[in-house]
């Protein structure tokens, strides 16, 4: 555990000095600030932010982490030549990416809200849920990036897979779900729909967030089904558990690949 912390600690020092991460934080910060200034009250700014959270965070976490890992390949080799276990290197790499990415998201969203006293006007619970969903998505997609980098030797291919995965989950998935609903409109499809929602972390995060608001119209098909099926409190718990599974499963599948990998 201490070794994992050491690997992560030095990697964090490297990552926080990266121009890309600083740029990401600044853009997100300015965007949040602008939404708050021009987007009306706190509630509306929060709703607009949700869209940003759902699209931008997974993309940045996936692409930044994948590029970083391929770039660090020779350094990972050097680490593996030290008397430490592969598991320690892998988990250190994960934390070294996940922690700074999450921290810059939290800072970029929280600072403007605190400055504009947005928290007091909207519900603090909703704000906390937004931060939680952003961190959860960062951790999920960083884990997926590690899985991709552990399984794919070629960096162009790895980056391609990362972008394709993002496109699939953010854009194509809704379309596919709608197609499925249209085709199966004669059947009771609530349970399969629930399964479909659990199979996409972005869908999960959206539903978890929108359940906080009174805006069922924005829930989308899967979200409406979930709200009806679980009710609000259980719905949030179920999505949370599913998001945790989305961190743990890719992370440990990736770890197994990493332990067998030839460098």
């Amino acid at each position: 555990m201490r070794t994992i912390g050491k690997v992560a600690g030095y990697e964090i020092r490297d990552v926080v000095r990266s121009r890309w991460l600083i740029g990401y934080t600044l853009v997100l910060l300015l965007l949040t600030d602008a939404l708050f200034r021009f987007g009306g009250g706190g509630e509306k700014a929060l709703l607009s932010l949700i869209n940003v959270v759902l699209f931008v965070i997974p993309l940045v976490a996936l692409v930044f982490s994948t590029v970083y890992l391929y770039h660090a390949r020779e350094f990972i080799e050097l680490l593996l030549a030290q008397p430490i276990k592969r598991r320690q290197v892998y988990l250190g790499l994960y934390l070294g990416l996940g922690v700074p990415l999450s921290a810059s998201f939290v800072a970029a969203v929280a600072i403007p809200f605190i400055i504009h006293r947005g928290v007091s006007t909207s519900q603090p619970g909703t704000f906390a849920a937004l931060l939680g969903a952003g961190v959860a998505l960062t951790l999920v997609f960083t884990a997926l990036a590690l899985l991709i980098a552990a399984c794919t030797e070629d960096r162009i291919k790895g980056l391609g897979i990362a972008v394709a995965l993002w496109l699939l989950m953010s854009v194509l998935y809704d379309g596919l779900v709608l197609l499925f609903v249209a085709l199966m409109s004669d059947h009771p499809i609530e349970r399969p729909l629930l399964a479909l929602m659990l199979a996409n972390p972005m869908d999960l995060a959206r539903v978890a967030l929108l359940l906080q608001f009174d805006v069922s119209a924005l829930l989308g098909y899967t979200g409406a089904v979930l709200a009806k099926f679980f009710g609000r409190a259980t719905g949030v718990t179920a999505t949370l558990l599913a998001l945790i599974a989305w961190v743990v499963i890719p992370l440990f599948t990736g770890l197994r690949a990493f332990q067998k990998k030839d460098f």
């Binding site: 020779e74 050097l78 593996l80 030290q82 008397p83």
Partner: protein, 236 residues
């Protein structure tokens, strides 16, 4: 120091090592020679545990490399290509690695001889290729390992630095360190190596003292001796 027995390794369809056996003697410098893609780097990586052999066993100091990661405490590794986290400086890299290895007594000799002090606090991304290679060499020696595995150690170094590194290798050998090094520069191996292992098509074509290789091939220098070995290999 290193016992490699009947090791085979295949990448996809490519058979890189084919039932290779090699023994590296303690307190000597063993040079690995062979054409490009003969499997030298793969062999070094298998010894370091960076890659796993499909068949065969590898022992370092009498302990299987698969048993635990602790044997790597005794090894210093200098990879062919030096790349480090871009935004860290050399001082932080040293701190990180000594922290990971829990090492206190560091060998700073190369730091002085390479005149590296002025580069210690610069981010790695601003260092030139040759300077990174010096950093790479310093890291291999830093923890006073008993065994050093150096992959093309002088590639990219200027003649002065290359000389500094070769002197360091010879001095450490006189203190009882064991070296396994690969190189394409025959004159360099002739200067440094006590033993040579000539690897071709994933097998050891010759292993033994340098003088023995010259005697067998009836040549006076290593380059010609190796050329002769390759011709014989092609004829056989």
């Amino acid at each position: 120091m290193i016992e490699v027995r009947n090791v085979s390794k295949t990448f996809g369809k490519l058979k890189v090592l084919n039932d290779l056996s090699l023994s590296v003697a303690s307190r000597r410098v063993t040079g690995l020679i062979g054409p490009n893609a003969a499997g030298k780097t793969t062999l070094a990586k298998i010894i370091l545990g960076l890659a796993t052999a499909d068949r065969g066993t590898v022992e370092v100091g009498g302990v299987s490399v698969l048993a635990s990661e602790q044997y790597r405490q005794r090894i210093g590794y200098m990879p062919q290509l030096a790349r480090f986290p871009e935004n860290l400086c050399a001082r932080e890299l040293f701190a990180m690695l000594s922290d990971l290895r829990q090492a206190k007594d560091l060998d700073q000799e190369l730091l002085e001889r390479f005149d590296f002090k002025s580069e210690l606090n610069k981010p790695v991304r601003t260092l030139s290729g040759g300077t990174r290679q010096k950093l790479n060499a310093m890291i291999a020696f830093l923890f006073r390992p008993e065994l050093l595995i150096l992959d093309e150690p002088t590639a990219g170094l200027d003649p002065v630095s290359s000389g500094v590194l070769k002197d360091k290798i010879l001095r450490e050998k006189s203190f009882g360190k064991t070296f396994l090094l690969t190189s394409h520069i025959m004159s360099e191996l002739e200067e440094l190596a006590d033993d040579v292992a000539f690897i071709n098509e994933g097998r050891v074509a010759f292993a033994g003292p340098l003088a023995e290789l010259k005697r067998v091939t009836r040549q006076t220098n290593l380059e010609r001796a190796i050329a002769e070995m390759m011709k014989r290999g092609a004829a056989a």
